[in-house]
Amino acid sequence: MKFVDDSQNLRGRLRLIQALILVLLAVLSVRLYVLQIINGQHYAGIAENQRIRLLPIPAARGRIFDRNGQVLVDSRPIYSIILSREDTKGIDRYSLIKPLSEGLNIDPQFLREQFDQVKTQPAFESIPIKEEASPADVAWVEAHELELPALRVEQTPQRRYLPDGMLAHAVGYVGEVSQEQLKQQEYRDKGYKPGDIIGQEGLESVYDDYLRGRDGYRKVIVDSRGRIQNEVERIEPQSGQDLVTTIDLDLQRAAEDQLRKSPQGRGVIIAMDPNNGEIFALASAPTFDPNLFSQRITTKDGRAEYQKLLTDPDKPLINRAIQGRYPPGSTWKPLMATAGLQQGAISIDSSNLVCGGGITIGNKFTRCMGGNHGSPNVHFAIEHSCDGYFYRLGLKMKLEGIQAMADEFDLDKRTGIDLPHEVISTTPSRELKARLLPKDPEWKDIDTVYSSFGQGEDVLTPVALLRAHSAIGMKGKMYTPHLLKEVRAIAAVGNDPSRPDYRPERPARTFDRPQPKVLPIPTDQSDLVVHAMWSVVNVAGTATGIKMAGFDIAGKTGTAQVVRLGKEGSEHKDHSWFVSYAPAFKPEISCVALIENAGLGSRFGAPSVRAMYDVYYAKTRPAKELSPNNVAIRIR
């Protein structure tokens, strides 16, 4: 170097600079090593995560049909507008309220509530903005894609139920899986996550596993603004299995009409095939609109409607068929008679017992409502609903005999109907009395008397009573009532069973307990009771008013005293029962009606059941009557 200035060691200083540069570059290399080699996988995962998104394709829930293939419940696609939570994280969501409410015609208050809600619920990815969006709304969202990239339109299936609350108690309803359910292992194992739709009541709940489809999904690549760039993978959803019920929509409609026309608009009608337990109709009134739960429950109006249902004194949400418990009244008598014969308290040849217009136990006289029937036999006693006869039969059978009867007819158990929340009937027992009347806990003869004609402390569900009576008509064969006729099979989705997203075929199935409980009732004994019940309607009994030409109805009326005796007013009138099966000697259908606070069984219960049989008859018998020849004759 020509200008060496050794005093300042220029050569050394140049080397120092060079060394410094190399050190800095080495620092960068080390940092690169840390980022790319040591943590490379970590960052690759993050990069993958932020560009891959799984968008669910909701699976259609299975439809529900009646036994003749009429649609009871289906799903229709609706468009809902949602706001991606992820894409609005950095911004003030409340600033969107004005443009959204104006553009999509939404109540600003609703949006504010939705945004408030999201703060406390971290699990939800998307915020529903508008359900059942119109085509104009969808167009608006598409037009504003640039300004509001976080908005998305999603097609979701929405459950649609019959109008007027028809079949509401049997079918039930769906709703979003609740926080409480998600805490339970059972639901987590089934793969439920927040926002999923689940059957919450009725058949929707019992057969949810079948009705529920398996969601598909789209794996998409998104850019930094969440816009979809490409679809990497698409797994088609597998629809839920269709469910065919045993319901006959015509009979169901008839049942609901009858209840609607009843004095209080409250009651139960159940029609069943006694040969297998298939429920034709199951109506409980008052009813409710299940569409509330599947469609409107998230709205303010919907929540108010729900509150109203909860506080309604008539309790429309209760399924009276399986959750209502009523004193059986005189409908208890054929069961007593059957058991009395079976237990030997009376016999076919010698069944006469004194009526005497009533009975004196201790110093208390309990009269027979029908007057003094003398000393009737069991046929007469059922036909004329003689209380005095059954007082004495009960005393002969004793409490133990009555309990054996309750046990035999499963009245002290659930029927096993495929609906949720069935309650157990309460049947006479010492424990029951001790519990209900702690001041007078001893079981006395008078209690046996009350229990023998259905006015004791025991209360029955209508379905349990119908099942027991059907068993009499069926000569001891007692089937489990059920609403499931068939769950239809659904094909597999996917080609490769080894893949995790393969959805195997889901096979068809039927009701899982088709076998009857066989009661050891001798045929001649049951024939006697059946004949007596036939006489109730067809000869000289309490229900001759509903006698039907060409269709032998066997039945029993019942008038259940409402517990608050002595009070006036229609709401304290007796419950009106009628339980029956027909044709009497080869039953095809059994039917029970309970009309709340109406009065005599013969005046309200029986005509309602007759209306059911009219519909049934018209459906099953018209072929002969309306053959071309007959029509021609009629016209002439």
């Binding site: 005093s7 540069i21 790319q36 490379g40 960052y43 690759a44 560009r51 930094s224 760039q229």
Partner: protein, 374 residues
């Protein structure tokens, strides 16, 4: 005579430096294409390279001593350009990203004078400090150096382009260091800055002279994993993710890169090194850093062989500027330096940056060519 001169020129021409620089630009152009395949940045970069090569050759075959003589003219011309930027003339001075730092040159595009002025400032400093010296640097000389550097810095600060300003300091520091500045002053200055910089930052935070967004940028690099990844930490975080994703050999399998999905901001300019890391991995990055190391080492060698102090200072000022800029930019991409808009020399898309770097390299070659000429 001419033939001999040409032969010698060809022999002494620093082919390695030129080849390295061109190679890096070509590599950079490919990465720009990777970053923004649908945009025209990479084509513009190639055009820029063509212009820059012509400029480099012109400078290389011009006697640098003649240029040094004219240094004050260039220096003043540079200052005028910086003033021009500040004057809002419609159609000429441009405001991009809130910074008024660009001039529109008809037919070429945008031009950032602050890049170019770096070279004129370096020449001016070299001229001032290049005179034969017999003793240590005097205070007066240091002040003079400060003034030469201070004028353009003041003008650039008026453009609110703090990042560019930062890259000016190493030019002066290297020149002072190589101009027989007393070692004890050097050491004293280093110790002082270690104490004063954090203290100054603290005072700045307390007095709110350091603005909130600047504080956030500092906080981000102290703890990027826990920083607000959607706010101030976004650039740093996405850059780190992009780099990390590259792994050993680069993420070539995915057609959807961080940049094409727009997760990585400014992928073609300030964050081009992240794109390089994503596409070529650790190996590619090491090769690029090695290329820079070789280029800088070669330039330092050229400086050492220079026949006069001025030549040596010109090259070393350029080396200092380049090295510092590389470190700042890559450090920012790797998430341990705050985000400031400093391009990566030779790699980032941008005519101004490529042109001024090649002009600087042209000077170095010119010095190298004339090491035996009297």
């Amino acid at each position: 005579m001419v033939a001999i001169l040409e032969k010698r020129k060809l022999r002494d021409f620093d082919w390695l430096v030129a080849a390295l620089a061109i190679t890096i630009v070509c590599f950079g152009t490919w990465e720009i294409h990777n970053a923004q395949p649908t945009e025209t940045f990479w084509q513009k970069q190639l055009i820029g390279l063509g212009i820059a090569l012509v400029a480099m050759l012109v400078i290389a075959f011009t006697d640098y001593r003649r240029v040094i003589e004219l240094a004050p003219v260039f220096y003043v011309f540079g200052l005028m350009l910086l003033v021009l930027v500040l004057v809002p003339i419609p159609g000429i001075s441009l405001k991009i990203n809130g910074h008024r730092a660009w001039l529109r040159v008809p037919g070429i595009g945008q031009f950032q004078p602050s890049e170019f002025v770096k070279v004129t400032t370096a020449i001016m400093l070299a001229r001032y400090f290049g005179k034969h010296r017999s003793g240590p640097l005097t205070i007066k000389q240091m002040v003079m150096g400060g003034v030469i550097l201070g004028l353009p810095i003041a003008l650039i600060l008026l453009e609110h382009d703090a990042g560019s300003v930062l890259t000016y300091f190493p030019i002066l520091l290297v020149v002072l260091f190589l101009s027989a500045m007393r070692m004890r002053i050097v050491i004293g200055a280093i110790v002082l800055s270690i104490v004063v910089v954090p203290a100054g930052y603290w005072v700045g935070v307390q007095t709110h002279l350091v603005k909130n967004y600047q504080q956030e940028r500092i906080n981000v690099i102290l703890d990027p994993e826990n920083a607000d990844k959607r706010g101030f930490g976004y650039h740093t975080w996405q850059s780190m993710v992009t780099v990390g994703e590259g792994g050993l050999l680069g993420n070539r399998g995915s057609e959807y890169s961080q940049s094409s999905l727009k997760f990585l901001p400014e992928p073609h300019s300030d964050f081009i090194f992240a794109v390089t890391a994503e596409t070529t991995g650790f190996i590619g990055c090491l090769l690029l850093l090695a290329a820079y190391a070789l280029l800088l080492t070669r330039l330092i060698t050229d400086a050492r062989r220079s026949r006069d102090r001025t030549g040596m200072l010109v090259i070393m000022a350029i080396v200092g500027g380049l090295a510092f800029q590389i470190f700042i930019n890559v450090g920012m991409v790797l998430g341990f330096l705050p985000v400031i808009g400093v391009p990566l020399p030779l790699m980032s898309a941008g005519l101004s940056s490529v042109l001024s770097t090649f002009i600087a390299i042209g000077f170095a070659i010119s010095v190298q060519l004339r090491r035996f000429v009297n």
